[in-house]
Amino acid sequence: MTDQPKIRIRDLHKRFGSKVVLDGLDLDVGVAESVVVIGGSGSGKSVLLKCILGLIDPDSGTIEIDGRNVVGLPRAEREAYMRKFGMLFQGGALFDSLPVWENVAFGLIQSKRMGRPEARAVALEKLAQVGLNEEVSLLSPAELSGGMQKRVSLARAIAIEPEIIFFDEPTTGLDPIMSDVINDLIVKCTRELGATALSITHDMASARKIADRVAMLYDGRIIWAGPVADIDRSGNAHVDQFINGRAEGPIQMAVRRS
């Protein structure tokens, strides 16, 4: 890690009405590092990601990308730093009005102003990287299985060669084998690009595979962060409970209270 982290988040707050979701969150992600944020459902992982992407405005705090605070930037400037980002959405979020190859080429055509034939060639190359052939490129996203949609979505995220890639629950809804395939692809693609990766998941197998460092989000803050190798001896009761998936422990699920 160099001195200046790729992403530096300080004292991030976000509440919806009376519900506090992020409560003074701090997080650093180093250059070319892969950080996985773990945490229960509804712990605010997605909100964190959407704050960084600028889809939600935080109430207070700073998010620095390459040392520059991006909170509250006007739209035009935000679009400029968006070009550094790639994002794999939980449900794939493929554009169902466009064929697969155009989905992958979308960022190239729209934001990099590449010509369609050229963008198509790049898209086919990216699809090959995630193990999909030319036949698939002509299908519409609705004709693909869940695993294939995730792979197309991954190809779309890496097509613009982003500096930072975000993964929102990349293995949700996939069988264990397909999950492992996706995890391998994520590791391979981010390495090849030399990109920084920030993922959120509650799938521990996936976290162990793709993370350099793991951070646990609980109660709106990062309560523990450390190298993935240390996760089994974190000495933190919350982390222990989460990674071992026990119902008993310091984390009380909302079900038990109501």
């Binding site: 600028g54 994002m87 939980q90 493929l94 729209q110 934001s111």
Partner: protein, 282 residues
């Protein structure tokens, strides 16, 4: 980004109204007040949305390919339904006005009544309502589904402004294609009146055509086309607005679709009166 802020402010208002629920139920004035306030909130949100959408229609980048596709979708594919509607409207008008005017021997006014009613009122209003049902609903459903499946967020992360990519092409295409549709509908509607007049009611073809043209003024057709443009804008705006703000999965998209059609239809009828007042009121 500002849109989400506004949404949250709106959510907070809704929650506030909710927590006051018991008190307001006991106080009818408070009920009226809060209903009125939430109506104003919705109106303000819509106005901001419309302003922002129009701003994106006139500033580059614009997407000619997408506008073309919407022209096909809104204009071309609506031709059969608009044609049929205006054809039968013209036919029934001739029949009705003939039997009505016969009571005071004014049958000769049939052709004039048909052409004025069609161009000023029926073609724009009926076309607007039909397109609201056909196109407005489809827009709300499509954009709403894109919202709940995060496709709109995905657009943003790919450095593409959803207002420019999704909403501006629909607004432009709807506003420009409705007048063309209505112009075609005018011709078909008058033709429907002619067919009934000449082949059923026994008018002389030459006379019918002459009295159709005789009292028709430019302003009659132009006011109808202006109406059509405004109605097209309303249909696309309501479809996009409700779709863009839909939430909560299939049910939310369903509600957005219903709201888009209902609000567009009501606004068309209100705008119809306002424009008529503007052109012909005295």
């Amino acid at each position: 980004m500002r849109a989400t802020l506004r949404e949250e402010a709106f959510d907070a208002d809704v929650r506030l109204a909710h927590s006051d629920g018991i008190q307001s139920r006991m106080n009818p004035l408070a009920t009226i007040g809060s209903t009125f306030l939430s109506f104003l909130t919705a109106l303000g949100r819509l106005a901001l949305f419309a302003g922002s959408a129009v701003g994106h229609c006139v500033r580059p980048p614009i997407y000619p390919r997408l506008i073309g596709r919407q022209f096909l979708e809104i204009g071309y594919y609506s031709l059969p339904v608009v044609g049929l509607t205006t054809l039968f409207s013209g036919m029934v008008l001739a029949l009705q006005s003939y039997s009505g005017f016969a009571r005071f021997s004014a049958e000769s006014a049939v052709a004039t009544v048909v052409v004025l009613s069609i161009t000023r009122e029926l073609a724009p209003v009926l076309a607007g309502l039909m397109v609201a049902g056909r196109v407005g609903a489809a827009m709300a459903a499509e954009i709403g589904t894109m919202r709940v499946t995060e496709q709109i967020d995905a657009l943003t992360t790919l450095s593409t402004n959803p207002f420019k990519y999704l909403i501006a092409p629909r607004l432009i295409a709807a506003t420009l294609s409705l007048p063309i549709l209505v112009l075609i509908g005018d011709v078909i509607g008058v033709f429907g009146g002619y067919v009934v007049g000449v082949y059923k009611l026994g008018f002389n073809a030459g006379n019918y055509i002459q009295s159709t043209v005789q009292f028709l003024e430019q302003i009659d057709v132009i006011s109808g086309l202006v109406k059509a443009g405004v109605f097209g804008f309303i249909v696309a705006l309501m479809g996009c607005y409700h779709g863009y703000h839909s939430r909560g999965g299939a049910q939310g998209v369903g509600a957005a679709t219903t709201n888009a059609v209902v609000t567009a239809s009501i606004m068309i009828l209100i705008a119809n009166y306002a424009i008529t007042e503007l052109f012909f009121g005295r």
